[in-house]
């Protein structure tokens, strides 16, 4: 029983350290590399939209796991203004920047509220939508 108690305490302590670390200590080099700043996110969006101008991007807060984010593709791809022939069913997921890029059909008008609901139903918090206007990224709040 003592061994079991020791093991449980050891396990709890190790996990507590692992989970408390991001709040209690300065970010490690790896964490800094994994956490993307707003500036880096916008830069990434700019590059993505420059390459794919007929698209919009959405910052889905919390979307840091590609497997869990499959639902974003499921819900967003079902909207009629999404060009499902591009990307993967019209949706590109970037778990590092937490950005969803949505391919739009020619002459289609994007519906921000529909995208907002789709991202919410997928389990994430839609914060902003980005579009390219005159070559620059324009932000639109979704909250």
């Amino acid at each position: 029983m003592k061994t079991l108690l020791s093991l449980t305490l050891l396990l709890s302590g190790a996990l507590a350290c692992a989970t408390a670390a991001p709040q209690a200590k300065a970010p490690t080099k790896e964490e800094r590399a994994a956490k993307v700043t707003d500036e880096q996110r916008i830069k990434s969006v700019q590059e993505e939209l420059n390459t794919n101008p007929k698209a919009v991007a959405i910052f889905a807060k919390g979307m840091c796991c590609q497997s869990c984010a499959i639902g974003v593709r499921v819900h967003v791809a079902s909207m009629n203004f999404v060009d499902t022939k591009r990307f993967n069913k019209g949706v590109k997921l970037n778990a590092l920047t937490q950005v969803v890029t949505v391919a739009l059909k020619e002459d289609a008008k994007v519906h921000p509220n529909a995208i907002k609901v789709a991202v919410q139903r997928a389990g994430y918090d839609p914060i902003e939508m980005y579009q390219l206007v005159d070559g620059q990224v324009e932000r639109q709040a979704l909250q």
């Binding site: 061994t3 994994a34 919390g62 796991c65 389990g123």
Partner: protein
């Protein structure tokens, strides 16, 4: 009004005390409830999936082969239903103890991190032949927490169990791991530990690695090995599970 006998009252109090101690021990840790699909999905409304896994198991000196078929449906992100059905597929063929659960989840999203709290009642359907390793559990209520960033995953859960023999037990799970990303897909490598403690003092602990990979949005694969490191009053179990899942 239900009246408890002294015997049952003392059992409930002992179990609550035990559960409290176990919770205090495990609370600093964070964990994952062992849920389909591979503990990952689906977190989206209307999502569902099925996974099937083969298990080669050794209990003491007895070997057995199992197939597990598990299913999940997520109505909304806060509520899902899961069903797990094991089948013994060696010389002894038959159904094991199916488990039904109703995980209730509270997700949270932070910039660069996401996670959830889980409260999950489980019911172990008593239809298995005891000779086929029917599970001793009757009902379980588990509390879990997990959090995930781009590169890391940490989770833990504690479950309070009422067994068919009348004893109470506590099950604890803990997992820590790293996510792996390729250009087109992703996966993870985790170390998972499971500790079971029974009211009569019996205990067991198993630990081992888990490897998961997303082949596509539809197809997923997982391999899990669990090694018995401690046991008293439980038969030491060693198991290797591997399988695939489809998610819609």
């Amino acid at each position: 009004m239900v009246k408890l006998s002294d015997k049952h009252f003392n059992k409930v109090i002992a179990s609550l005390k035990f559960g409290l101690v176990a919770t205090i021990l495990i609370a600093p840790a964070l964990s994952t409830a062992d849920q389909p699909i591979f503990g990952e999905m689906p977190r989206w409304a209307g999502g569902w999936g099925v996974q099937t896994r083969h298990e080669a198991r050794r209990d003491g000196d007895q070997d057995s082969q199992w197939m597990h078929v598990d299913g999940v449906y997520t109505w909304e992100r806060w509520i899902r239903v899961t069903a797990k059905v094991p089948f013994r597929v060696d010389n002894e063929v038959g159904i094991g103890t199916p488990t039904l659960a109703l995980p209730l989840k509270k997700y949270f999203n932070l910039d660069g991190r996401s996670g959830s709290w889980t409260l999950a009642p489980h019911w172990f359907v008593p239809i298995a032949n005891p000779a086929l390793n029917a599970r001793p559990e009757q009902v379980k209520l588990s509390l879990g927490y997990e959090t995930e960033a781009y590169k890391t995953h940490v989770g833990a859960s504690v479950g309070f169990v009422k067994r068919v023999d009348g004893l109470f037990a506590t099950h604890m799970h803990a997992a820590v791991g790293t996510n792996v990303h390729s250009k087109t897909s992703s996966g993870h490598i985790k170390i998972k530990a499971r500790v079971r403690v029974r009211e009569d003092g019996g205990y067991s602990a198993r630990i081992g690695p888990t490897i998961y990979w997303r082949f596509s949005d539809l197809w997923h694969g997982q391999i899990v090995y669990k090694h018995s490191v401690l046991s008293d009053g439980y038969v030491p179990r060693y198991s290797l599970r591997s399988g695939v899942a489809v998610v819609f």
